[in-house]
Symmetry: C2
DNA sequence: TATTTGCACTTGCAATTTGCAAGCAAATTT
DNA sequence: AAATTTGCTTGCAAATTGCAAGTGCAAATA
């Protein structure tokens, strides 16, 4: 149960109340970069989130307008999760975390390459990825319209 | 006790292992923007961090090279905390969180004004604040040299 | 000199949150 | 019709958090 009590008027604090934990941004990462969009997809990520924690985080993120649920076109048993615009707008934050990581950690070569791309022109990178995510969002929205 | 086991090779996950909680970035915010630099300063922030959690977070941030301790020039009983370069480099992340907040939250007018400044020229903002923090860091380092 | 105050924690303990295993209903596949 | 998949929920032990009350040391005050 996510309570709604604000710790302070500080927007940083308010933001951390939404995604300031060890799991939320990883779910958002999976939606952004790895085309994961079902419960099972998130469960299968390398970090190994527990199923009850995943359910709790998905609920919180939805309540806060970061993600949205919709029917999966392939099956009624499946639920399709996608980023809402408010979630897509988290991209610059996640990008900067990756860039910071790049300075202080070692990491897989493919990720390093993507970060290099992003660093070359941050705004362009954000624009491109945002566009892709927005298109995907629209497709799924219309395809499973209710 | 902060353990060192990595959940995965993902740099985002590794980063969240360091500052992915409700408190760490608030301490860093206090060091960056509000000239807070003692234990008591952090305790007095609006969010009301508990004293054992503060001690635990300071320890973790120090172990991870985000902050550094030094002797306070005014009193031997006091400890002065400051951002290490690795901590100063978190500025772009925190700035982007503020910018995201600005789009989706209401907030105090003075903070809104600072964000407006930052948005006008992000790189300039980062350069300026980084410079100030680096100068402050050097001053305190030499003043209390050991 | 003795006492009080301030500072940076530590300790104890109850309450909350997390992690793991198992279970479950509805939908789908075989 | 039976087995499997999917998205959860439930139970419970373990870890983390939040709060109050110390603790040890140094500086200030009496």
């Amino acid at each position: 149960m996510e309570t709604n009590k604000k710790r302070s008027d500080c927007p940083l604090s308010n933001s951390l109340d939404i995604f300031g934990d060890k799991w939320s941004l990883l779910i958002i990462r999976d939606l952004m970069f790895f085309k994961k969009c079902t419960y099972k997809d998130f469960l299968s990520s390398a970090e190994g989130i527990a199923t009850n924690i995943l359910a709790s985080r998905l609920k919180g993120l939805e309540e806060n307008g970061i993600i949205e649920k919709s029917a999966h076109p392939d099956s009624k048993a499946k639920i399709l999760y996608r980023l809402a615009p408010k979630g897509i707008d988290l991209l610059p934050i996640i990008m900067e975390i990756y860039i910071w990581s790049d300075k202080y950690f070692t990491m897989p070569a493919d990720i390093k390459e993507t970060i290099k791309e992003a660093k070359k022109d941050k705004e362009k990178f954000v624009r491109q990825v945002t566009k892709e995510l927005t298109i995907k969002m629209m497709e799924k929205k219309t395809a499973t319209d209710n």
